[in-house]
């Protein structure tokens, strides 16, 4: 296949301009803040089924950095304590390691945060404030939506 010479010339010009810092189309005009080291998404809570007083919270944690981090603890604004229950119970005390550029996905049967002694009624559609403490990234807040008690797992069900 022959490459038409105008294309070669155009590519050379763009390349040279790029090296000279003149091509800026792919970059924003103002410098953006670096991505957060830890991104928490898809946070949700299944409220307690009366007369139970414990709820389960779930979320996805993305580690955007090139070094591992550790989720050490979680607190919630609606209960007296929150305990991380991973699929392997032995990880409870040390927290959960999230590899560099790795993810932690909590879903039904695959780890949850148990919020104990819920002080208020968790109504579907309202939210719960979570604070996730990481060894490196520090405290990362997350807002978890309360699903109806009898609704299926919004993560997609992964039993």
């Amino acid at each position: 296949m022959r490459i038409p010479w105008p294309a070669v010339v155009a590519a050379a010009i763009v390349g040279a301009a790029g090296v000279a810092g003149l091509v800026r189309a792919a970059q924003p005009e103002t410098s953006e803040a670096a991505p957060a080291p830890i991104v928490v998404s898809n946070a949700w809570v299944r409220p307690p089924a009366p007369p139970n007083h414990a709820a389960a919270a779930y979320f996805t944690v993305q580690n955007t950095t090139g070094h591992p981090d550790r989720l050490q603890s979680v607190t919630a604004n609606v209960g007296s304590s929150a305990v991380l229950h991973s699929a392997q119970m032995s990880l409870n005390t040390a927290g959960v390691l999230i590899p560099a550029h790795g993810r932690l996905v909590l879903s039904t049967g695959h780890g949850h945060v148990m919020i104990q002694q819920i002080r208020t009624q968790l109504r579907p559609g309202t939210t719960v404030d979570l604070q996730l403490r990481f060894a490196h990234a520090g405290v990362v807040p997350a807002t978890a939506r309360v699903i109806p008690l009898d609704a299926p797992d919004p993560t997609g069900g992964s039993q």
Binding site: P50, P51, H112
Partner: protein, 150 residues
Amino acid sequence: MKKVLLAGLAALLLVAGCSSSGGSSSKPSGLNDNPGTGPYMGVGSIPPLPRPSFTLLTDDNKPYSFAKQTDGKTTLLFFGYTRCPDICPATMADIGVALRGLPASVSSKVTVVFVSTDVKHDIGPIIARWLQSFSAGTHATFVGLYGSQP
């Protein structure tokens, strides 16, 4: 849609380890992964699991012989406990969603048996209250069992 929901129920039957064959015979389960050729859609266990036989107390303190009282009935059997915030309510929620999606003529023939594994905490009134969250709006029969047997 009905078939999909029945498939869901069939899968739950399998999860519950409760074949649809009566008694403790090794008669093949009604579960079937060939659509349209059996009473249920789903994946049957090979060999079929026999229907377990045990007697525990209902949440209103009456003896309930599982094998006898569910014989010939489409039954979903689940072992869990009410202080479990994760997989127990999620499983019961899934059952409730499937049942509410069925015509009443079908769901009214389904029995859901919840057996508590927390013998120290889960007594009748606690189980009864807990089940209400999941049975509401369905036409199925929900049975909560507790206690222990030798």
